[in-house]
Symmetry: C2
Subunit: 409 residues, 2 copies
Amino acid sequence: MALIVQKYGGTSVGNIERIKKVAERVIESSKRGDKLLVVLSAMAGQTDALINLSKEITESPDPRELDVLMATGEQVSISLFSIAVKSMGYDCCSLLGFQAAIYTDHIYGKARIRSIDSKRILKELDKNRIVAVAGFQGIDEKRNITTLGRGGSDTTAVALAAALKADVCEIYTDVEGVFSADPNICSRARKIDRISYDEMLEFASLGAKVLDIRSVEFAKKFTVPIHVRSSFTGNEGTMVVAEKREMEKVLVSGVVSDKNEARVTISRVPDRPGIAFKIFEPVFKTDVVVDMIVQNTSLDGYTDLTFTVPRADFQKTMGLIKSIAKDIDADEVLGDEEIAKVSIIGVGMRNHAGVASKMFETLAKESINIHMISTSEIKISCVIDEKYTELAVRALHDAFGLGDEKAEA
Amino acid sequence: MALIVQKYGGTSVGNIERIKKVAERVIESSKRGDKLLVVLSAMAGQTDALINLSKEITESPDPRELDVLMATGEQVSISLFSIAVKSMGYDCCSLLGFQAAIYTDHIYGKARIRSIDSKRILKELDKNRIVAVAGFQGIDEKRNITTLGRGGSDTTAVALAAALKADVCEIYTDVEGVFSADPNICSRARKIDRISYDEMLEFASLGAKVLDIRSVEFAKKFTVPIHVRSSFTGNEGTMVVAEKREMEKVLVSGVVSDKNEARVTISRVPDRPGIAFKIFEPVFKTDVVVDMIVQNTSLDGYTDLTFTVPRADFQKTMGLIKSIAKDIDADEVLGDEEIAKVSIIGVGMRNHAGVASKMFETLAKESINIHMISTSEIKISCVIDEKYTELAVRALHDAFGLGDEKAEA
């Protein structure tokens, strides 16, 4: 008898008919004799509707109270789901964050799970009940309600799977799994059967929306096998698992693009110790997430500094950086919103040379200029003009042989 | 500095504009230097919308899960209210049932409050925060969410006022207070300035919708002064307080009617010890609330037994009683749904004779036949044909001089 955690997103529980379908699906799984723990998101559109309601009062609602409001979305989902399961003759019990004892820090709106006390959940599972836990929410040590931010239900599911040592955490979504490229951009994109946590981390952080990055971090830390699959078909999806030797034979697993960034450049920054701190400390303080940072080698005591931020934070960041530039006697601040980041990912890169040069060569062949480069052990990202995004993805997908045939070095 | 509990019903928080108005009103009160604890109901229509959602799944949703669903209504209200207060520059903190530590028994859908641990509330009040508590909800000893049933927010407010020894519990509603009769029936109905707990209990139990009966029981038990008033005007409403000597000078405080009952009669019941138990035990077990019970004096070893039940439970009760009648060799079961109960209430009755006869005389003058009579120390109820309800109320209101002038014996 296995213990399975299943997570269903907002689209999967978007209306009463779909909630019933999910209930049937969960019951089918439980009939196989497995213990079922189900994590649900809010019904699609519900989270936005609640935010809009609060915006009718003020543009900047109090974060604590906004979390209290938002947490109702998942509460509605799990109660309706449990009503559905019970109406079909199976035992079920819903648990909210405070009941499932999901403890977080106290950063409202983007809390992190600190610990889970699984006593209550285990007790309910032992009664042969299907247990439905509200995703996205927890409580801090003072029992204030917190929410984990967008995509938080994935993290709830993986964290529960880790706490309960579940055999697998199935993430049900509206796609069939993780693909070698966005099928909307690249028609030859292929579903990946198995992928390592590290690769999945890169996929998630580089713009693939399929899994929330924090959930993958959790899964890696506690070696929770994740199965990303469609809630609309019975097909096998993508297994996200610990790295295995044979994975290294595959040079590149996928190509990911992200149009959600903007670039800021400060030119002729006096190159003194502590200058990066002086520039970025105020930015970090505003909670803007800085992604790539590139600093050129210093020439004659001056350097250029370029970084990317989420496009939504671009104007705010430009304002801030312009005033900082004055303080530190830098020359000029330039910004560009029309950029994209294109990345290739693969654990095989660790042991193969020449991957980067192949990427640069491929882009050059298509006359695509590279503005910034950032590399890690298992990924290479290039910032290019936004208009070349789709062309770049398709060219790289072809160049690394990611189509229907397996990739070869 | 006083501690004031204010409760606002669903109509008062029916939309964002009204929630803002309530926030302004509460802030005005707090500016007078008082500590404010605010209890809110769900936005009008919300509770029904949630019930309907569950009915799309099944006609009889699981009670535990239905409570989880219903509890979201008040959660939305208190978070939006707190967002509004904070956006106006005042400090505020919302608390759900589990955070406010409102402990109930485990009867889902109609739980009773057992205890309140006021530590957290006091802590927030001490920080000079307005505290907004979700009405209608609590948790049982296993931390399951429970709801108190319709009107439950009144009880939450009074129970909190009792636990915190508040100076007054203000119940804001869409009427100006408690009236000597329903103004829709009786145009000369007068707002009552002060009324005793016992009278209010009778008003509430006899069909006046203004306060939930359990909240009045709580208020009486802990001597919490209740102020029933309108959330749309600044007028003084009705104070519900401990009985004072001068109240006894008023013979009758008000006339109340209730069309929500039905009558069941079992004729020629063999008059043996334990027979009433045999009849009513199965009825009580189905959770049907039996109101008036009248048993005639036994003639030749047989008696007639008549009682009233909520009209919604009439068919169910008739079916049950017919099968019981067979078991106990009773003759016949008769039912009537077209009845009404008309009652007069007043603590003055305790010390005045002739009130009952004046009531019977008044009804007789209008040729209204009385089917059942039930009396207590401070009220007399008569069951009559439904069609005479309004006529009876007006006649009694006039007869006891309840109009613009004070009542005189």
